[in-house]
Amino acid sequence: MSTIASAARDSSVIAWRNLLNVGRTPGALVTGVVQPVIFVFLLAFVFGGSLGGAPYREFLIGGLLAQTLTFNSSFTAVYLAKDLQLGLIDRFRSLPMSRVAVILGRTTSDLATGVISLAVTMVCGLIIGWRITEGPWSALLGILLLLLFGFAMSWIGAFIALTARSVEVAQSLGLIWLFPVTFLSGAFVSVDSLPGPLQTIASWNPVTAVATSVRELFGNVSPAGYTSGTGWAADNPMLYAVISCVAVIAIFSTVAVSQYRGISKR
């Protein structure tokens, strides 16, 4: 069997196993479901009033959808770190299975969690008055872009899990970097409003590109005067979003898989 076929097959077996585990762990999905609800209502009503009311809420959801999927990286970090601590991992590593499968199976099954979080965020958005005004194909494209972004974030989580070597460390490392990355972007505010150097960072932050693309694809209008930064990335948000997701996947999957192979040298 070719390497790619066996990687796909073995990963799907691992993903199946992961999903059975999620389904049988009460509370496994609580974070993925409750977190988006809290963020939507907190940001929409605590900040929403002073930031422009209904027009801001329409703008907000695109950013929240992007933010919701960044949390995929923390799910992957925690669950993969847990897997690596199990005796089961020794069985996997002694089997003639693809060396990619344990990680790819994990990032794939975490995509399912991402879909659920995404749906919850959208429903909450609908409740607070957000609407999709573009056609179904454009909306579908927006959802696919978000899932690609979530998948890319998962690979960063995999790298964190393999670097941390313990669940506790993976848990805090997996979460802590998300706050600067999501907030130093155009996800929740106009990039113009940030001080100089942060404007550049936000302009090139993939989170900005994803949020901006999604607003475009869902047909959401930003409040008057809101910008998503300057430069090539800000002018071509969709292309930049896709390129950065692919780059993240390429880099972090290579690193994570070589880390996984390297476990045998410890």
Binding site: R9, R17, T25, L86, G87, R91, R93, S94, P96
Partner: protein
Amino acid sequence: MIRIDQLRKNYGSFRALDGIDLQVDQGQIFGLLGPNGAGKTTTVKVLSTLIRPDSGDAIVAGNSVTADPTAVRRSIGLSGQYAAVDEKLTGYENLLMVARLYGMSRTESRARARELLREFALVDVRDKRAGAYSGGMRRRLDLASALVYRPPVVILDEPTTGLDPRGRLDTWDVISTLVGQGTTVLLTTQYLEEADQLADRIAVIDSGRVIAEGTSNELKVSLGAERIALTLASSEFLAETLRIIERILGGSVTPQRDSTGQRLTVPAPQGQKTLLEVLGALDRAGVLVTEAALCRPTLDDVFLELTGSPATAEPSPQPQSEVEVGA
């Protein structure tokens, strides 16, 4: 089937493996006996490609663990120290998963999983989550997972550690009836009893080196086999007793005496036979014996004998009953 050449592995300044050499023939059950920290698990991890040795190599079923680990993985089944089963999956799902990961088709995997559940007496619990299994059942499921692909080489790391006596007997049974059958088995244990019961050949390892190797009987003899512990009714029988023992066992044997001159310990090269012979002779000579017991060496005795330092192993799992006799 397995050839280990000068295997070395250091963890920092700790020498886990300090030049291990071993040879296991096809179909053999080979026991690796040693206390905690002797290098048993490290050896197993090298053989099952979980870690790379610093130097040296091992050939498993014709493939080198360093040069072609993937080929090695195809010919081994591993059952580690802790049962490596997914607790959230049922017994059936666990076996199905392993079969699929070995590259078996869906239909093949289902059939093999069902077959193993039958063989390992797990049919009644096939749809229960492995987390709810007893220690013995979990261990059986783990062993079954190791056998999914019918590998020519099976590696078992301390298969009965942590089991209650019932689970231990159960596991022994499974290993000798199911795992055997032409499969080459390498098992590690810290229990002399277990190596004795299961293994055709035993290597004793300590501090990452093989310090003795042979069949269970060879080792027992060289390690001081069984001994007879005698308590005489009075020290006045001592001289006569020593004469009788010398006649039966030969002059090279020196019985150990305590200060009272009433208690003495003598090697019993033929176990029960020697005990009966000595007791018979003592009886005919009119020597009164108040206590006589056949004692087997514990792992501690073995290590004292071989290394001059006591083993750090856990106490022997089953208390030795006084006149119990070795197989």
